[in-house]
Symmetry: C2
Amino acid sequence: MEINYKNIKVIGFDADDTLWVNETYFRDAELEFAKLLGAYETANKIDQELFKKEMDNLELYGYGVKGFVLSMVEMALEISNYNVSNKTLEAILNIGKDMINKPVELLDGVEEVLKTLSKNYRLILATKGDLLDQERKLEKSGLIDYFHHIEVLSDKKEANYSKLLNHLDINPSEFLMIGNSLKSDVLPLVNIKAHAIHVPFHTTWAHEEVSEKESNGKAYKTVSGLRGILKFLN
Amino acid sequence: MEINYKNIKVIGFDADDTLWVNETYFRDAELEFAKLLGAYETANKIDQELFKKEMDNLELYGYGVKGFVLSMVEMALEISNYNVSNKTLEAILNIGKDMINKPVELLDGVEEVLKTLSKNYRLILATKGDLLDQERKLEKSGLIDYFHHIEVLSDKKEANYSKLLNHLDINPSEFLMIGNSLKSDVLPLVNIKAHAIHVPFHTTWAHEEVSEKESNGKAYKTVSGLRGILKFLN
């Protein structure tokens, strides 16, 4: 299906795993967490339980490192049957602090793409992470001047994007979202008649995976790397 | 000094302790926390140390309940010399969950003021809390239809407000901020030549207190309750 990008006024970029590495750090943190609790359960079981705990707490804590750390602490208490040592818990807090302090590792082509597109479009960063974390990453990334501003969404569902478009005072057909998550950055946009381009990242959090059925027959493009966008827009 | 409100296009409202009770819940949480750790230190010492810990972690965690809970956990480990029980730590996590689940208690006059002002101005909620928390509170409050959108600021300093005005595409003289914190909702605005009205709340977090000197000779109004705003604007 041909997609008409002529009306685009604003382009939203997802941040984590679209502009810079993020999920990899969560995977590393989970490995470290499983190692710390190795006396109580297998790594596989800990991984599963942590995911369940995160899902249980998602409505309460939302996305981002702080909620992740709170879920790890809670799970460490439970899976150890309330026997985990204070030093292990401190190590868990430090996993979170290290994550927050990680350097920003840009993905391939990011600077070139932003530089090109920022000449003709208003670019915004649209993220469901923690605002402070994302501002810090944007600062470290050196990309701040390409973006008009950051939009933080508490979730990335259709209603959140509709609110965003209302806030930007534009029509759905004037908005293009670019991101690595089909579930969060692509399908909700297509469903509200906005545009989306999917740029997959090699690792996807289980929560972000969608079934084939959900993504079937939807009008969006997939490119293998961010530079691929420039084939459609410039 | 007379202030000219004629040019105002957008009015920003602080949320916590301006529209609804918040600080009181933090004070209650601190009391509960001190009680849980009563075996290790006096309530007064615990209070002081917790504030210090929050300030140490502020750059890392930012504002909001999740960072507050992470600071409580860290402090419990340290102040107990790594002897605090797993059950006590669980109780600390639950203090946080209870805070997030608290009902929204509107302050006096809020609905009337928003209803009146929303007819002639674009109203936004400008908060440095956690977006998810604030969206949840706004939902519970029944006030959601009065606001064009929520703006989350990672901090409320001059630079953050300048970014906000840029994002709203308005001049400083077209913006009025209303809030309970001199430090966060009033002085930075006055300093960038925007407008501000101060509506004090009975409890102020130590971090939000400012000295007389800082607030001397700045052009802003103070009203004793939210309804007082309607004397100047309607």
